[in-house]
Structure formats: C-alpha cells, structure tokens
Symmetry: C2
Subunit: 109 residues, 2 copies
C-alpha cells in the first residue's frame, strides 16, 4: 500500500524514455524484469535501476516469487499524475471561458 | 510555435514543486515573472531559472514588452503529457476488462 503520493517522484520517473517504455509495457499487463528489458537496448542492471526509480515513485510495484520478479503498474498513482495535469488544463479552459464572457460583454475593448 | 514536443522535458519540468506552483498560477491566466515569484520563497534569479526549464519544455512561453516579461501556459503541451498518461491508464483498464472476460468464461480457474 502507498502511504503517500509524491508528484515530484512520479513526474521524475516519467521523464525518462526507457521508464516510459516500461510503463507502457506494464499498462498492457504484469511482466517479469526480463520481459521489461526485452525492447530496451540496455543491460539488465540498468533496467533494474530504472525499475527502482519507478518503484520509488509508486508507479510500479514488484514481487519476487521463486526466481522471477513480476512487476505491475499501480493505476492509482498513474491517475494522480493525470489528474494533476487535468485540473490545470481545466483551470486554463475556465480562464479562457471567463475571458470570452468578458469580451462578449465589452465588445469595444 | 513548437517544432516538437519532448515528453522527457515536459515531465522533468513538472517534477519540481516550485515549477508546479508556477504552472498552477499560469493555468489561471498569464502572469509577470514577479507575480510568479510572489508565492515562492526563493530569489528572483531562482524563479527565472525555473521559468527557463518550463520554457525549454514548451509548457510555458514568455514575451517581454517594455520592462515586463509576461508568461503564459501552452495548453497543447500540457494536454500532450495528460494524453500520454491517459492512454496508459486506458490501456491498463482494457487489460483488466480482458482479464475479467477471461475469468467469467473460465470460472473454475
């Protein structure tokens, strides 16, 4: 369970193309670390480092059963980042609506 | 005009709390640099540095008229980041739906 959601860590995690490829893969379902590594032109330790950044942000969690570590996405954390951006966009659209109303009421300005 | 949209730079720009405060302010309408600085406990040069990161990402653009630099948000860039996350979330929901269908069809597994 997540105790807190940290937008700094979430957006930092998403700021790297390899980590976005991993999130993209996991959005299609859980995957092992080696499955995550497959499309990436990098060593397994490098992939594990990226995975650690994703886990630190809460976007991904993983569990080791036997010799296989299975990773899955944490949709609530993904939604939190989406919602932050969405609220800013809505706020901007609201600003434009108000501006439009003002200009309609004051056509000579 | 933007020539390209770079998700690395956009998410990096959003990964800092001061820069998110600036985006939040600008989502309510254009603002001068000193207006952006007002709620932030930092020097004006530090604010300008953050502004440069926001401008490099395309999230914010600014224009100097006389002595005042006015900043405004670039909603298309904000939407691009929102859309990337939203597509991953939708993809995950689609995966869950398929899983649900499979389990309904194979109740004994």
């Amino acid at each position: 369970m997540l105790n807190y959601i940290n937008l700094d860590l979430i957006f930092h995690a998403l700021a790297d193309p390899a980590r976005r490829v991993m999130v993209e893969r996991l959005s299609q379902g859980p995957a092992s670390v080696s499955e995550l590594a497959k499309p990436l032109a990098m060593s397994l330790p490098a992939v594990v480092q990226h995975l650690q950044v994703l886990e630190a942000s809460g976007l991904v969690r993983s569990e080791k059963v036997g010799r296989v570590r299975t990773c899955r996405i944490e949709p609530v954390v993904l939604s939190t980042a989406e919602q932050w951006i969405s609220e800013r966009r809505t706020s901007w659209e609201h600003h434009l609506d108000k501006l439009g109303d003002y200009l309609a009421e004051h056509p000579d300005e």
